[in-house]
Symmetry: C2
Subunit: 121 residues, 2 copies
């Protein structure tokens, strides 16, 4: 279901959060469908259940999933998720533009790169 990248320096729980969001955004996991249990995913990824629990707790805090004690974790409504992701992206793009301006990269250069990366899919 998910593959971890051990070359990635970010903590495991952050990767799990990101991958789960991706699966939901891609429609692989639909609204109200059940996620693998904490222990099951931990086994699957060969990591500790506590680490999965941390990721799930954060996903719940963000409203991406909801938890029912004794039953499991389920995908929350996906309506707002894409908008949330877009909002999250803005400050990051703002920082990148600042960096570009410091390096004297023109708006045209920047946009050319954007178009290039967009076309790469």
């Amino acid at each position: 279901m998910i593959t971890l990248d051990y070359a990635d320096r970010r903590p495991i729980y952050e990767q799990v959060i990101e991958k789960m969001k991706d699966l939901i955004l891609l429609g692989v996991l639909e609204t109200d469908s059940q996620l693998p249990s904490v222990r099951e995913l931990a086994m699957d990824l060969s990591i500790n259940p506590n680490t999965v629990q941390r990721a799930y707790a954060e996903l719940e805090r963000q409203g991406v999933i909801y938890c029912v004690k004794g039953r499991g974790n389920f995908v929350a409504g996906t309506d707002g998720l894409k908008d949330k992701q877009k909002e999250e992206l803005k400050p990051q793009l703002s920082e990148l533009v600042k960096k570009a301006q410091k390096a004297d990269m023109t708006e045209e250069e920047f946009i050319t790169l954007v178009k290039q990366f967009y076309s790469e899919q």
Copy 2:
């Protein structure tokens, strides 16, 4: 000369690296001009000399400054620095575009944001 942001979660030495590059990119520090000594900057920022040393060592590794034992640290040629910064920016922008695509943000939307942030300076 430099101000640290303690709200920034990044390590201090990374902030020092970034701020020094900014000063060089802005032309405040010219080629071959001397940087504050390790101990002086440490005093100025109220941090440990080892932390400054770590930042300076990394700046030297990146070719941004050069060090002369007993004399001090000096700004290396700034010619390539802007190009380096541009190159560093590309993979970051690529990741951001991927994120945008996952959230169904169109190229047009993305570029509109870029233009907006560019005009904000």
